[in-house]
């Protein structure tokens, strides 16, 4: 775990953590949904608007050049962060959802044919499921699932569903419900040997651990800025250059063209071919600042910190009678996510009472209805950690859960 002093310094960077909720100290444990923003990110966005706001790629005047430079510098920050080959492989989008849809619409509609197979897993967030349902129905392709074991891991016996007919494997790196860290390197190896491409949903991994696209060797990686200290409305699609070159554009209009004539036009170079319209410049600048913040602490350290928090939470919460925790018990293969149910109390009631205690957690199906189906529950409550959480937050969660039991008369 990061040491106490370090955490105190980090906490000071996040103004929101000073506020109270229902006259209690705010304990923010919904980091899998979105994270809080450090003052550095807020300031970077403010500086952009106060000092060099202009549209990018369109002007030759000073402000436009400064804004363009900052936007493109932000892209380079991301290249470095996930170890991509070049800025040509980094496309700014709104969020992970849009990144995946871009692949489904642009790549999928060109390369998926009748009888092809797309393999996903049962632990996907809906954003990595619905685009493939629609695509496979449209193309008369087959959608197949890698199941989940009781322990909450991918069922490796289902890996043989990846076969010669498979064109794409779309899989989450870390489950937003079970916390499971999937072995995406191994899956990519299997898929590539059979000629399939691999899309990794990195929404819950990129913010929390070192992610290296060369090491994984995935063809696509999607993630959202708002889950990693950055602003909302900015996300990233990484794709290998040779694939982007073969793909048709997704959204079309300004920015993404090279030459325009009456009836035909040609496309801009990578990555701008995929960035039609005015981009989210403040978002890119904010995200780059967030990445600098994360790098300064170190992704290895953040992962170690969350691993320690999970270990502590699993052991502390295990003495609450009636509490069922879903997902792997081994912190080595679990991200900072703990989903649970408490007796026969609905997850929403748990979250409401925790809220009264200042503890902010999520309840519901977490956009993963197939996971709810697997564990036969309508909803789960979920606590998820980040670098500013500490032992005290877990204590607060623990005592709020005991309050919940008391209110509902559970012993």
């Amino acid at each position: 775990m990061l040491d106490k002093q370090r955490i105190q310094i980090i906490k000071k960077d996040f103004p929101i953590l000073n506020r109270e909720v229902n006259e209690k100290k705010l304990v923010y444990l919904d980091n899998a949904a979105t994270t809080q923003k450090p003052i550095q990110v807020i300031e970077a966005i403010r500086k952009y608007y106060e000092y060099y706001n202009a549209n990018v790629h369109r002007g030759v005047y000073t402000l436009a050049e400064e804004a363009t430079a900052a936007y493109e510098e932000s892209r380079k920050e991301i290249v470095d962060f996930i170890n991509a080959n070049s800025y040509e492989e980094i496309i700014f989008v709104r969020n992970a959802t849009e990144a995946i849809n871009l692949v489904a619409y642009a790549w999928g509609r060109k390369f998926i044919k009748e009888g092809d197979k797309i393999v996903v897993s049962q632990m996907e967030h809906h954003s990595n499921l619905i685009p493939w349902q629609i695509l496979s129905r449209e193309k008369k392709a087959k959608l197949e699932f890698i199941g989940i074991t009781e322990e909450g891991k991918l069922n490796e016996e289902d890996f043989n569903k990846i076969d010669k007919k498979t064109k794409l494997v779309a899989i989450t790196h870390v489950s937003n419900v079970l916390g499971t860290i999937n072995r995406v390197e191994e899956i990519t190896k299997i898929a590539h040997e059979l000629g399939a491409l691999v899309l990794v949903d990195g929404a819950q991994s990129v913010p929390h651990m070192p992610v290296d696209v060369k090491k994984i060797d995935c063809d696509f990686l999607a993630f959202s800025g708002h889950k990693m200290l950055g602003p909302m409305g900015i996300g990233v699609l990484f794709a290998k250059r040779e694939i982007l070159e073969e793909m048709p554009p997704f959204l079309t209009g300004g920015e993404m063209i090279k030459n325009v004539d009456f009836y035909e036009s040609t496309w801009n170079d990578l990555p701008w071919k995929y960035e039609a319209g005015t981009p989210n410049v403040e978002g890119a600048i904010g995200l780059a600042e967030a990445i600098r913040y994360l790098k300064n602490i170190g992704m290895e350290n953040i992962r170690a910190h969350e691993k320690a928090l999970v270990k502590l939470a699993l052991s502390k919460l295990s003495d609450i009678k009636g509490l069922v925790i879903y997902g792997p018990k081994d912190p080595e293969i679990r991200g900072g996510v703990i989903s649970f149910n408490l007796g026969n109390i609905h997850a929403h009631d748990v979250a409401s009472i925790l809220d009264q205690e200042g503890v902010q957690i999520r309840a519901g199906h977490h956009c993963a209805k197939l996971v709810m189906k697997k564990f036969n529950v309508p909803a789960m409550a979920r606590a998820s950690f980040y670098l500013y959480n500490d032992e005290e937050d877990i204590d607060a969660l623990y005592s709020a859960l005991n309050v919940t039991k008391k209110v509902f008369g559970l012993d």
């Binding site: 609905h346 997850a347 929403h348 009631d349 409401s352 009264q356 309508p378 909803a379 209110v407 509902f408």
Partner: protein, 133 residues
């Protein structure tokens, strides 16, 4: 603290009234709240004057949604279809003790109300003409 988990709600959550299924109901509707997965269904049996002589609700979800469904079932027994149609959500909320609910939780509390109105309107062969949330 825990302001809307007071005794009335918890009592109806523990001991739901009129819960179960009904054979051949005269009016019926099912609805759910996709956000939290709360589900409620109502089945009504009417006499010749279109008065509710029996009502059953079923469903699952948070305490608020289920207690509200139970409380509402007691509230409408003996009322005519027309009377239920003219009922307002304020009547139910008053019955629930006017809890101070945010925009998300109000949907839990009013799911029962919406489902009941759906049952009434579908019995009358009409589309629901009321903004619920």
């Amino acid at each position: 603290m825990n302001e809307y988990y007071y005794e009335l709600i918890l009592d109806h959550w523990r001991y739901p009234r009129n819960k179960g299924k009904m054979k051949d109901p005269d009016a019926y509707a099912f609805d759910s709240n996709p956000l939290c997965g709360d589900e409620v269904e109502y089945a009504l049996k009417l006499d010749d004057n279109k008065r509710v002589i029996d009502i059953k609700f079923d469903g699952h979800g948070c305490a608020l949604s289920q207690a509200s469904a139970s409380i509402l079932s007691e509230l409408v027994k003996g009322k005519t279809i027309e009377e239920i149609k003219n009922m307002t959500k304020e009547e139910l909320l008053r019955e629930l003790g006017n809890p101070n609910l945010g925009p998300t939780r109000i949907k839990c509390a009013l799911l029962s109300y919406k489902t009941l109105k759906l049952a009434v309107y579908s019995y009358l062969g009409k589309k629901l003409q009321e903004e619920i949330y």
